[in-house]
Structures are given as structure tokens and as C-alpha cells.
């Protein structure tokens, strides 16, 4: 078994994260945030803060460039649009001085009316066939409304960076899942040539989508460092992390499913509202309608989603954005429909199986993999022996096939390899898996391959770690470069395009076994069984880590996590890890990874697909379906807390 190569460094504390950069003369930056959900910043006086001994730089709208941000706003805008919006920033000799100095910035706000219900944005709609016809053909129509909550990422490591200037070059040690995305964006915002900005991410403590775009703190840290002439470290605290660094948007999904008596789906009609927050971050456009268009074979589909702009923190991608939300509703509804039709819930899914991507009009590269995942899970739980507390859900995911372009380099001397890539390790263990791919092609053991990643300086472009794309993007290029390096000691290779005439998807199935205590409303999870198509599984240990991590995060989404907002104040009440309930180890039952390696030669030469996101997708629906099986109570709103299950 090949273990994670940075495991020892992480466990012993030797691994260096963005906040571990201890540079000579380092200052500590802090951001002043709006206490109002909507207000005009009438006046800012930073004189008292600047005069505090130890304060080295103070920035506000009056002395910093009016950098355009999020289409309609500025770095420090004259209007603040949610509690947590950036108003000013400063850097000081210690975090404590910086915190004290924030309290000395005098701001006069003129509060404006705020809106949490939301202004409707332009809808995004897709349609095929005719919904009217599909509903006419239906012998059974299920109509239901499902709701999902706003979920907060709460990566172990907060957003943040350490920025320093070397002459007219900027170096940023950043906690990011996209070093090139941050490099390009920071350079653009500061008006610098891209080559003058270097982003380094040696290790990071999770991102889950919220670190796939550049946020203001990176630019603010760079400006503070320039103003002070010293390096600046700017890490968000947990409160800011929960207010101002993204979230999974809440949804209301109104749907109708039409089917014939034999289970054939004739119509899928869904209208979805999703809460977007105050800004469009560029990463928030989650495709909630996606799974409605692709998971099941259906000729007549109408799917529409509308974002609602509110005076709350902005949404951003969160592990399988859109699909975790959509899947909860669709896979709950499929179970409800099966019961109406008197059909077995898994059988109903199989009767509507599709081997082509109906959205793209292309066959899947692995048309049978979902069927194989369903078979593995249902046989492991002995599905035909249905019993109370057993629930099931299937899923698909639009990504996982890799997102070219990318370029890699391999050097091979004296039986040792050195691989350089321009991606970062979001925490999945990319170094280890990439070393294995290179070692295989070089014909040497994996530990004879050194891997350099997480740095834009070598100018080898790598993809953002999103869409479960890192390994699937890089592996084919690594394989190609390594093969060439065997012949000529050093070789570079570019990732080729994905096939044009085929659709690459990942998919899977999960089953949940649980019991419910109706007297106390407590859900007692017993087992989660998961099978996912990740193409060829390069490292079973790392793959299983993703399955366990994804299911764990999904259990929080299903049962305990939700951002709570006071509607009168526009205030997030649980922007901390005490009241925002991520699951603990005690909440997690046995998670059985049944996934088999299914090399997908049609997808790419390495046969590899991603596994970061899929495991989070079907768990919530499988839990809701298991709860219905145990109790007869159908809960259509997440999270499924005690109050929804307790007998009055």
C-alpha cells in the first residue's frame, strides 16, 4: 500500500501552510467588516488607528485604488451589502495590535433597507421535448417541494495568505485550490503583468470550492505589504470565514415527475430558486438543474433555476455545487414516485437508466458504470430483503473527466524522477497519486519520484482543483512526459483535449442503514455504503479517504449543518464552529467504500477520473429515504434535525 507522502509532515506539524510563512519583518493584517447588512459608508477616519503604536499601514477607500470587484463593486466600496463586507484594512506588528487598531477606525454608516427575500435574477432554463406532452402521457404525477439550507464550507484552514514584494515582483503564499487562477486575478486587479506575480501553495487545509477563486484578502495583503514595505500575513478568523468566504446556496426546488405505470419517466419539470448572496463571486453559479437533465432517461424535461440576490454573504462553489442540492430533491422524489407506482425504488431507477448524456446529445465514455455501482451497493446491503431504515440513492456528476489545458515536465536521471506540475494539492494527496503515475511510466518505484507542485514560478500551467479535475487533467500528460523522459532524460508534455464525441461523467450509488428514535427525534446512523465510478483508481487509500471525507461532509449537510440568519437583523447567528454543527467523529458510522477500479480508456489514456466530489452527492437523499423507510416520515427539507422527526 502506498501511503500519502506528506502524511508524516502533516501529522507532525512540519508541513507548511500559508500562515506558516514566518518572514523577517512580518506584519499581521486584519480587515474591518461591515456591521450592517446594507449601508452607505458616509465617512471613514483612520487617524486614530494609524496612530496606534505598532500599526504600519491602514487602507480604506480614501487611500487605495478603486479596484473593480465582482462586476458592480469596488475593493472598498462606498456601499456595503452584507454583514462582513470589507470596509477597511490594516497591518500591524502583532495580530493583537491589529485587532485593537480595527476598533479605532471610525466609520459613519448610513443604513439602507436590506432584502433577505432576494431580488430575482435572470433565470437559466433548459428544455427538451414537451412538458405538456410528458405530463399528458403520465399515469402518475408526483408534485413536491424540497428545500436545502445554506451550508458553510468551514475548511479546517481559513482563507488567507502571506504576501511580500521582492522589488516589483509580488510573492503570495496563499491557501488556494487554484494558484494560476489567483495569480491571474491578483495580477489583473493590481495592474501587474502575470509574470510578476508568483503564487505558492505548498500545503492547504481544505478548500471544498470556496478557495477556487481569488478573494479580496489577497489583493488587500499585497497592498498592505506595499504600503508598509514589509511582508504581510492576512488570515481570516473563523467568524469572517463563515460570513464572507462563500457558502453553498440554499435552494427551493419545486418539481413534478410524471411516469407511466411501468415506471417510464415521461416528464421532469423543476423550478429552482437559489439564494446567491450579495455578490456574484464567479464561482457561485451552481448547476442545480444539471442532474435533472442527465441522471435519468426522459424525453420531456423542463428545468429552470433563478438566483436571488440578497444582502447576505456571497455563495461560491461547494464540493459538487448544484448536484448535492439537486440530488437530494430528485432522489427523494424518485423514491416517493416509486412508492406511488408500487415499484421497487432501485428498479424504478434502472428502468430509466440512460447510457448517454441527454444534455450534450453524446454517449457516455463509461455507459455501464452507474449500473455497476448500483449493483455493488444493492448486493452489499441485500436490497431485495428490504427492511426499515434502509435507504438508497444514485447520482451523477457533470465533471471528473479533467479540464485541459495543462503542461507538465519530467526529468529522469540515475534512476530517479522529478515531476513538476502547475497544480496544487487541495489536500487529496495529488503528490502521491501523480508520483505513482510517473513512476509507473518510468519503470521505477513511486518513492524514487520527487514531485514539485503548488508554485506558479516554473510557468507550467496547471488546472484549478475543482470539478474533481486535478488527477484526470494531469495524469495523461504526466504519463506521456514520463515515457518520453525515459528516452531523453527530460521531457515536457501537454494534456490533450477530452474526446469531442463522448461525454465523460462520474457517478455512483450509496445506501444507508439507520434507525430513528421517534421519542427523542434522534437519527442513529449505522452504515453508509458507497460505490463511485472514479475511472481507474490509482491509489485505493487516497480514494477511500475521499469517499470517507465526502460522506462525512454529506452527513453534516443531511442532519446538522445550516447557517442561521436573523431576518430582522440580517445577521448570521452561528458564524462559528460552536453553533454551526459540523459532524464530529462520534456522528460518523462505518463508511464502506465499495468502489471498484473502472479504467475509462475512452476518457483519457490514463483511464483516470476524479473522485473528490461524487461521494458528497447522494448521501443526503439516501439518508432521507432511509428515514422514510424507518418512520414513514418524508422530510423534504435539509437538515433533518430532531424537531422534524420527534413525535409531538
Amino acid at each position: 500500500m502506498i501511503t500519502r507522502r506528506e502524511g508524516r509532515a502533516k501529522v507532525t506539524g512540519a508541513a507548511r501552510y500559508a500562515c506558516d510563512a514566518r518572514l523577517p519583518g512580518l506584519l499581521f493584517g486584519r480587515i474591518l467588516r461591515s456591521p450592517y447588512p446594507h449601508a452607505r459608508v458616509a465617512r471613514i477616519d483612520t487617524a486614530r488607528a494609524a496612530a496606534l503604536p505598532g500599526v504600519r499601514a491602514v487602507l480604506s477607500a480614501s487611500n487605495s485604488p478603486a479596484i473593480e470587484w465582482q462586476q458592480s463593486s469596488r475593493l472598498f466600496d462606498a456601499t456595503v451589502r452584507y454583514i462582513g463586507d470589507e470596509v477597511a484594512a490594516l497591518a500591524a506588528e502583532s495580530p493583537e495590535i491589529a485587532e485593537d487598531a480595527l476598533g479605532l477606525i471610525d466609520v459613519r454608516y448610513e443604513p439602507l433597507p436590506f432584502d433577505l427575500a432576494g431580488r430575482r435574477q435572470k433565470p437559466k432554463a433548459e428544455e427538451r421535448g414537451s412538458i405538456a406532452r410528458g405530463l399528458r402521457e403520465a399515469q402518475e404525477v408526483l408534485e413536491a417541494e424540497y428545500r436545502t439550507q445554506t451550508a458553510l464550507h468551514n475548511a479546517l484552514e481559513a482563507h488567507g495568505c502571506t504576501a511580500l514584494w521582492q522589488g516589483d515582483h509580488l510573492v503570495v503564499h496563499e491557501s488556494t485550490q487554484g494558484i494560476f487562477a489567483v495569480r491571474d486575478e491578483v495580477a489583473h486587479k493590481l495592474g501587474l503583468a502575470k509574470e510578476r506575480v508568483r503564487i505558492i501553495t505548498e500545503h492547504m487545509g481544505g478548500g471544498f470550492g470556496a478557495k477556487q477563486v481569488a478573494w479580496k484578502h489577497s489583493v488587500i495583503a499585497a497592498l498592505l505589504a506595499r504600503a508598509a514595505g514589509r511582508p504581510v500575513q492576512l488570515m481570516l478568523d473563523r467568524n469572517a470565514e463563515n460570513l464572507a468566504s462563500g457558502n453553498r446556496n440554499a435552494t427551493v426546488q419545486k418539481l413534478r415527475l410524471g411516469a407511466r405505470r411501468d415506471g417510464t419517466l415521461t416528464a421532469i419539470d423543476v423550478r429552482i430558486d437559489l439564494e446567491q448572496g450579495a455578490y456574484s463571486t464567479g464561482g457561485e453559479d451552481s448547476d442545480v438543474i444539471g442532474t435533472y437533465l442527465t441522471l435519468y432517461k426522459c424525453a420531456n424535461v423542463r428545468a429552470e433555476q433563478t438566483a436571488l440576490a440578497t444582502h447576505l454573504g456571497p455563495a461560491v462553489a461547494f464540493r459538487a455545487p448544484g448536484y448535492a442540492e439537486g440530488n437530494f430533491a430528485l432522489e427523494s422524489a424518485i423514491d416517493e414516485l416509486a412508492e406511488r407506482l408500487g415499484l421497487d425504488a432501485v428498479e424504478l431507477r434502472l428502468r430509466n437508466y440512460t447510457s448517454e448524456d441527454q444534455r450534450e446529445g453524446k454517449p457516455f465514455t463509461s455507459p455501464d458504470s452507474l449500473r455497476r455501482c448500483i449493483a455493488r451497493v444493492t448486493s452489499a446491503v441485500d436490497w431485495p430483503r428490504r427492511r426499515p431504515g434502509l435507504g438508497f440513492a444514485a447520482h451523477d456528476w457533470a465533471a471528473g473527466g479533467g479540464w485541459p489545458p495543462a503542461e507538465v515536465r519530467v526529468e529522469f536521471r540515475d534512476g530517479r524522477g522529478r515531476l513538476t506540475v502547475g497544480a496544487q494539492d487541495i489536500g487529496t494527496g495529488s503528490r502521491t497519486a501523480l508520483a505513482q503515475i510517473a513512476a509507473e511510466a518510468l519503470g521505477i518505484p513511486a518513492d524514487a519520484v520527487e514531485v514539485a507542485l503548488g508554485d506558479t514560478a516554473p510557468r507550467l500551467y496547471g488546472p484549478t482543483s475543482s470539478g474533481s479535475a486535478t488527477l484526470a487533467t494531469l495524469a495523461p500528460a504526466v504519463q506521456q512526459a514520463a515515457r518520453a523522459a525515459r528516452e531523453r532524460a527530460s521531457a515536457a508534455a501537454k494534456r490533450g483535449d477530452n474526446p469531442k464525441d463522448r461525454s465523460i461523467r462520474t457517478c455512483g450509488a450509496q445506501a444507508v442503514e439507520l434507525a430513528v428514535d421517534r421519542e427523542t427525534g434522534e437519527v442513529l446512523l449505522q452504515r453508509v455504503l458507497a460505490a463511485h465510478d472514479s475511472g481507474r483508481i490509482v491509489n485505493p487509500l487516497l480514494h477511500e479517504s475521499q469517499v470517507i471525507g465526502g460522506v462525512t461532509q454529506a452527513i453534516g449537510y443531511a442532519l446538522s449543518e445550516q447557517r442561521v440568519v436573523d431576518a430582522r437583523l440580517g445577521e448570521v447567528l452561528n458564524a462559528n464552529l460552536e453553533d454551526y454543527k459540523v459532524p464530529t467523529v462520534a456522528d460518523i458510522p462505518q463508511i464502506v467504500n465499495l468502489s471498484e477500479s473502472m479504467p475509462d480508456a475512452e476518457a483519457n489514456a490514463s483511464g483516470v477520473k476524479g473522485c473528490g466530489e461524487p461521494p458528497i452527492i447522494p448521501t443526503a437523499a439516501a439518508i432521507a429515504n432511509a428515514i422514510y423507510s424507518a418512520t414513514g416520515v418524508r422530510v423534504r427539507e435539509l437538515p433533518i434535525t430532531r424537531d422534524k422527526l420527534i413525535k409531538p
Binding site: I83, S560, V565, K581, P648
Partner: protein
């Protein structure tokens, strides 16, 4: 956090002399420091009492003496507490996280302030912090009080306090006039306009320790706690139950509730239903009903009524099974 002075006195008298409404005693600090970081509390001076106050558990043949600095972890692990005062050991083990239990003291535990998310948010004004209104009463109140709510609807956060009350604990307190003993039941009091906190301890008083009276060996006890997840959460509802049977008849019963009232809440009406009665499921259900007869749920916490009843029934059933073994 505001700047503060820090003092380490060498005698209890010195410490008490330094205490005032503008200073605070520092022991484990697990609550006080978080309050100071959020600027809910801003004492001018911290008095470190860790070198001064007693720490540890003494179990003479009769009763139990617990020093104020004894940690929750020490209570949880003490063999006599586990054997003779099971509800207390269970309550300590269900509180917070192991890291916090290693640091938090029992004296500080009794003095901790509510976890109400309005109270804890420095941007939000509330009655308990000296403001006019309670924003939780008509706000997001799923974790708030169903019993005893007045101008404040927060719940008391302690798990061990209900267990200590159920064992009729008394406090030893040191003030400027010397030492006094106060029943724990009198130490907690609903906050009022004149005293916006949950205890009657004076600003210049220190808790020295607790004394638990002896009880007959056939006494059984347990603490049940419902949370939003399996661990590391404050109680949505909880019950400390101490029971003694004589044959099938209830000879002694104490039920003290957590997570449902601004202070640990003794369910005397429920106890009255039990005392002298035959232990039975019907009787337990009647006692549970009596415990919530005065409940006034808020908009989002009516689930606490059936939850609390279930915990009471479950605790009585479990203890009866244990007693009859």
C-alpha cells in the same frame, strides 16, 4: 479583547480583596476568555485564583467534597463519583470536548454565562447584556427556554449543575466576611432587572468548593442529554435523575433539567408524582407530563416539550431497571 491588568495574589483574602464588579477571577478561563474576546465581558483586572483554591475530590465515608478548581475531566474519571454519583460523572463526560474538560473547573462551570447566540454576538444588543429587549424571544430560538423564561429566554449551559443539584449539593463560598455555605439551589436564581445574571454570587466572592451529602447505597442516578449532534454540543434538553426505590415504591426522587430554562430547573411537580408511588411506565409518563405542565414554548422550540418528556421517561425507566437488578 480590551486590555486588562493581571494579578496573582498569594492568599485567598488578598484575592477576595481585589475582587470587585470591575475585576474577575480567572481559573480555567474556558468561558471567561471567550467572553472577553467577544467583548461581552471587559474586566479591568483578572485575578488568577489557580494557585489559591482547592482542587481535587475527597470521598470520606459519607458524602463528597469537590474543590472549586477540580476539572470536569477529574470529576468524570473519579472512581467514587462514577460509582456513587453516576449522574455527575455522566454529566461531566457529556460536557464540551476532552480538551475543554481538561481545563474547565467545576467552580467556573457553575458561573458560565449562556450560549445564546444573541447574547454571544457583540454586535447585537440584548437585555442580559444591559439592553432593553430580548431579541431571541421573537427571533431564532430553537435552542432557547421553554420553562422559567422572563426578560431573558436563554438557557443555562451547564451539564454538571443539574447533576449537582440533584444530589442536593451545597457551595462553600469565601467573601470579605469570611466563609459561608449556600445551598446550590439558592445559588442559582432567575436573572432580574437588578441582577442580570444567573447566580447570586457576590462580585467579591469566590467559590471554594462543593459538598455533596451522603446518600444510601441503593441510590441510583443518571444524566441524559439530547444534542444537535452526538457530542461536543450544549444540551437541547437534559435531565439529571436521582432515584431510590423501596421495593417497587419510589422512596426518593430528584429530577433537575438542563437546556430548557435560564437556570438549572428542578422539576418538583414531577418529583411529587413519583414520591411514594409504584415505579411504573404510567407513573413515569405522568411525572414527565407534570415536568412540562408550565412549559411555554417559543416559536421554534416546541419540539423540546416532547423531547424533555422522553428523556425524563427514559431516565426513570433506565434507573428502575438498574435498581431492580
Amino acid at each position: 479583547m480590551r486590555a486588562f491588568r493581571y494579578r496573582v495574589p498569594t492568599t485567598i483574602e488578598q484575592a477576595v480583596g481585589a475582587l470587585s464588579e470591575r475585576s474577575r477571577a480567572l481559573a480555567g478561563g474556558t468561558d471567561l476568555i471567550t467572553l472577553m474576546k467577544a467583548e461581552i465581558a471587559a474586566p479591568e483586572e483578572l485575578i488568577n485564583v489557580k494557585p489559591l483554591l482547592p482542587r481535587g475530590i475527597e470521598a470520606p465515608p459519607a458524602g463528597l467534597e469537590i474543590g472549586a478548581l477540580t476539572t470536569l475531566a477529574e470529576i468524570e474519571q473519579h472512581p467514587v463519583v462514577r460509582r456513587r454519583y453516576a449522574a455527575l460523572a455522566e454529566a461531566a463526560s457529556l460536557a464540551a470536548s476532552p480538551q475543554i474538560r481538561n481545563l474547565a473547573t467545576v467552580g467556573g462551570n457553575l458561573l458560565q454565562r449562556p450560549r445564546c447566540w444573541y447574547y454571544r454576538n457583540s454586535r447585537i444588543d440584548c437585555w442580559l447584556k444591559g439592553g432593553g429587549e430580548c431579541p431571541a424571544r421573537d427571533g431564532e430560538n430553537r435552542s432557547h427556554a421553554i420553562l422559567g423564561a422572563g426578560p431573558c429566554v436563554a438557557v443555562h449551559p451547564s451539564d454538571v449543575a443539574p447533576a449537582l443539584l440533584a444530589f442536593d449539593a451545597a457551595l462553600r463560598v469565601h467573601g470579605r466576611g469570611g466563609e459561608r455555605t449556600v445551598a446550590l439551589a439558592d445559588f442559582f436564581a432567575l436573572p432580574s432587572d437588578q441582577r442580570r445574571r444567573e447566580s447570586t454570587l457576590g462580585d467579591d466572592e469566590l467559590i471554594l468548593g462543593l459538598r455533596l451529602p451522603p446518600h444510601p447505597p441503593e441510590t441510583v442516578s443518571t444524566y441524559l442529554k439530547a444534542m444537535d449532534r452526538k457530542t461536543w454540543s450544549f444540551a437541547l434538553a437534559g435531565v439529571a435523575c436521582v432515584l431510590r426505590l423501596s421495593g417497587r415504591k419510589v422512596a426518593h426522587a430528584r429530577l433537575v433539567l438542563s437546556g430548557v430554562a435560564p437556570i438549572p430547573w428542578r422539576a418538583e411537580a414531577a418529583e411529587r408524582h413519583l414520591l411514594g408511588a409504584e415505579a411504573s411506565a404510567d407513573r413515569f409518563a405522568a411525572a414527565a407530563e407534570a415536568a412540562v405542565q408550565d412549559a411555554m414554548p417559543l416559536r421554534h422550540n416546541s419540539y423540546k416539550v416532547p423531547l424533555l418528556k422522553a428523556l425524563i421517561r427514559n431516565s426513570l425507566t433506565a434507573l428502575t431497571d438498574l435498581a431492580c437488578k
